[in-house]
Symmetry: C2
Amino acid sequence: MNTVNTNFNHKTIEYEQLLIDFKALLKKNNLKFTIQREVILETLYDSDEHLTPEALHHLIQEKQPDLKTGIATVYRTLALLEESHVVSSLSFGAQGKKYELGAKEHHDHLIRTECGKITEFVDEEIEKRQHSITNELNFKMSDHSMQIYGTCSECQEKKI
Amino acid sequence: MNTVNTNFNHKTIEYEQLLIDFKALLKKNNLKFTIQREVILETLYDSDEHLTPEALHHLIQEKQPDLKTGIATVYRTLALLEESHVVSSLSFGAQGKKYELGAKEHHDHLIRTECGKITEFVDEEIEKRQHSITNELNFKMSDHSMQIYGTCSECQEKKI
DNA sequence: GTCGCTGCAAAGTCTTTGCAGAGAG
DNA sequence: CTCTCTGCAAAGACTTTGCAGCGAC
């Protein structure tokens, strides 16, 4: 990989960096870099969705049918990645836990109860207020998440 | 119950109303008012905690040992109450789903990752922003929740 | 009386774990 | 070579369901 080459699109460069960081993280903890771990990271990166462990496993099987990655490895790797704050999880309703790459910019979630899709957004004003609140309470914030549940305009139309 | 008597404290009056509403809800759906359902509602009301189904079941067994309420009934009743928006659930991390009475005023959550406790708060400014955001996007908000994770001042001190 | 509700236990789901062989460093 | 990882299958944790008797209305 030539770092002088600027022809990569944004996403490719990000992934390269992500991979470097991931390898460093593994090394630091005396863990090994395996094909399975790489495929899991890559699949999470390629997907714009919020994935359940099962959905992620399914995608991996489609992508690398000959690798026969077990669901247990997916769970183990997700736990490792979450612990290291590389991915973050979101759980809501009966739909279980969903994972997404946490390396992205922080954002909140609009969850569509009709179609199950999730849209991301960021609102600076809310972010600021969150910091003021925790400062006032002398609370050391490590993370925060916000979810708004409801019906998107498309689903509202379908109902008519 | 004499409605002219004003000697009840705030909490008692609230519970009376909650019970009336619950009975009306049951009647409306051709469901029956049972001792188990009453005990579950009352225990949820009495507790200021956010309870897991198991913790709730445990409290009920202590409160009414002779009733022998089954865990299945607790799950069934919680599902009924959540569907009717009498209680709401909150799930986070590996700690599973916790329930609280939703009849209270809306609020967000400060979750203490060290001691596991949850503090409630409301911030008008954030509430307003949430409404503006959904209005802009033509998104029909049915509910929303916000969680801030971190360490409270007491736990920060313990670490020193 | 009728029909929904309950406890129990069995069945599902989802997730974790033990183990022996495979593979990274 | 060593020591971690992996797939598999079994075990666990949590939740739901079927059923026969019970109880609200």
